[in-house]
Amino acid sequence: MIIFFTYLLVASSAFVAMYYYFIFSELEEEGVDVPDSLPKVSVLMPAFNESGVVAESLENILDLDYPDYEVILVNDASTDSTLEEVKKFEDDPKLRVLDLDENQGKAGALNRGLEHVEGRFSVVQDADSVLEEGTLEKAVAMMMNDSGLGGVISRIQPLNRNSFFRNLQVTEYTVTNFYRRLMCSIDVLDVTPGAFATYRTSDLKEIGGFDKGNLTEDLDVAMRLRKEGRSLGMVYDKVSRTELPETYSDLKGQRVRWARGFIQNARKHCDMFFNSEYGWFGKFQLPLHVLMPAVAVMGLSLILFGVFEGVYNLYLHVSAVGFSFALGELNLMKVLLGFQWKIYTPLIAGLLVTGFMIREAYRSSGREVSHISSLMFYFLGFFAVKAVFWSTAIFKEITRKSKVWT
């Protein structure tokens, strides 16, 4: 049974790796023509306890070259010095500050901001993110050129890289951006991240704004836009840099929230799964998004089972003879004969393709590999960490633990 599950796991991982490889093999470079005249854009920036980072974000966003835009910062009843830091920029005519008396959550804060939007396009940007010059222009141009687009995102990269977990996320985001680009190329992208996403204001208002109380309102809004028949696009050559979790505990908090948000939205939009009305997005991509964490959780379970079995056998040995071990003669022939080749063959094939895709992700984003240890951990072990997050999220959803957004 264990071998069967391992086989199933390895086979599905190899299949997913191959699937994305074949999408990549047909990928075409797409440029965006930016028109001379660009419409007004409203940047919505919800902020809850963002002291220390909000000033850098405002400085960046208020200094962009985009011809006509406003920034609506919604202070969501922060309890730290966020508002004081924001007030230092109040002289800038592009900035409007909405100070909420009661904490409304990110979606609620965005909805309050949406009520005051004047621009034809609305950009959602986290208060701990900074934009690369030209991102707004390209995102807006892309939407102007394609009336079917309901949202445009950019690449996301970490603002700081001062810890192992941040370096790990550099690799993760590099790869995630690359896969999002592939998903865009076949029109199955499913998320408009809070770090940077551009929408048509009319679309946002038509769908009733953001879902207050939703743990991942960015996923929800993308799903609802898809329900309206909109596609999602990506400006791959522009970057939004955002503050990422620094420690394992921060990362876990964020990812468990995301995973719970995914589960919540999967339930909310379950009618889209396997629904041909939404094309390959419904028929294939959404089920694939469920399969991947399931594979990770199953993989972690098998690893834990193996570790448990090993520890149990070690316990039996130690309880019998104490810490008495003898190293046998190393025989390469016997080592090779000892492998389960029916499992190792697809595993090696899947890892090779995944390794190739990671290399392409780095190459296409123009990044250099700077932290080999983080890269290797991402390649070989990060799935297990993510599986822990997913398992925690599933457990919390089942036991209905309270949900907190940050």
């Binding site: 086989y7 490889y21 390959w280 019998a320 003879v321 492998f339 029916k342 499992i343 697809p346």
Partner: protein, 219 residues
């Protein structure tokens, strides 16, 4: 055909090919494993047979026989232990050759008994104090622990003990059936020392060592 459909089909086809390839390699490796054990078994059988023939050729009182056996025993005994371990490990990984492994195991048990008889005879003729241990095991935790204790004893005895392992969970073998009946083995772990001392439950390394030492001094 649109790109997604094409990619799904291509990915499914390539994955299927890789899986089939993996199974084919697995089958091929199964054959190599089997051949490997067969070769080891053949070598071991040949070594044992050559000692038996030597015994028949040399005069009973000849000291040459004792010298020849004494020189060859450690190697044959190690080889015998190794074959048992390989059989146990490889049979669990086999995709298709269960019947072949059953056959190999039967041959192995025959080879074990032949070696056991040879060593018993050698003990008597040459007055050696070697300890011959038959170990009957199953997949219980107690059997695993007993295996560890015996392995440690084997290492510490420094060529003076010989362990003959028999897996009670495997299929029929005439040799195994005879031994089971002879020593009234009902389950694992059962340890039979020098044919006259039987332990029917787990015995720690110390208990085992002291019991065997007492047995030696009595005999």
């Amino acid at each position: 055909m649109d790109l997604v459909k094409e990619s799904i089909l291509k990915a499914a086809a390539v994955t299927a090919v890789i899986l089939v390839f993996g199974v084919l390699i697995g089958l091929q490796v199964d054959d190599v494993r089997e051949g490997y054990v067969e070769n080891q078994l053949r070598e071991s059988t040949l070594s044992t047979q050559s000692l038996i023939v030597t015994r028949e050729y040399l005069d009973e009182s000849s000291r040459n026989y004792c010298k020849v056996v004494q020189d060859r025993i450690p190697e044959i005994s190690d080889q015998n232990t190794q074959i048992g371990q390989d059989l146990q490990s490889f049979a669990g990984k086999s995709i298709s050759n269960n019947e072949d492994y059953k056959q190999l195991r039967r041959e192995y048990y025959v080879s074990q008994l032949r070696l056991y008889n040879l060593l018993k005879d050698y003990k008597q003729r040459c007055g050696e104090e070697a300890t011959l241990i038959m170990f009957f095991f199953d997949d219980s935790a107690a059997s695993t622990r007993q295996g560890s204790a015996l392995t440690k004893y084997y290492r510490e005895a420094n060529n003076n003990s010989h362990i003959f392992s028999f897996n009670l969970d495997t299929g029929d073998s005439e040799v195994l059936n005879v031994l089971r009946s002879d020593y009234n083995v009902e389950g694992g772990p059962t340890v039979v020392v020098n044919g006259n001392q039987t332990f029917r439950q787990y015995n720690s390394f110390r208990e085992l060592r002291s019991s065997i030492d007492v047995n030696k001094s009595v005999s």
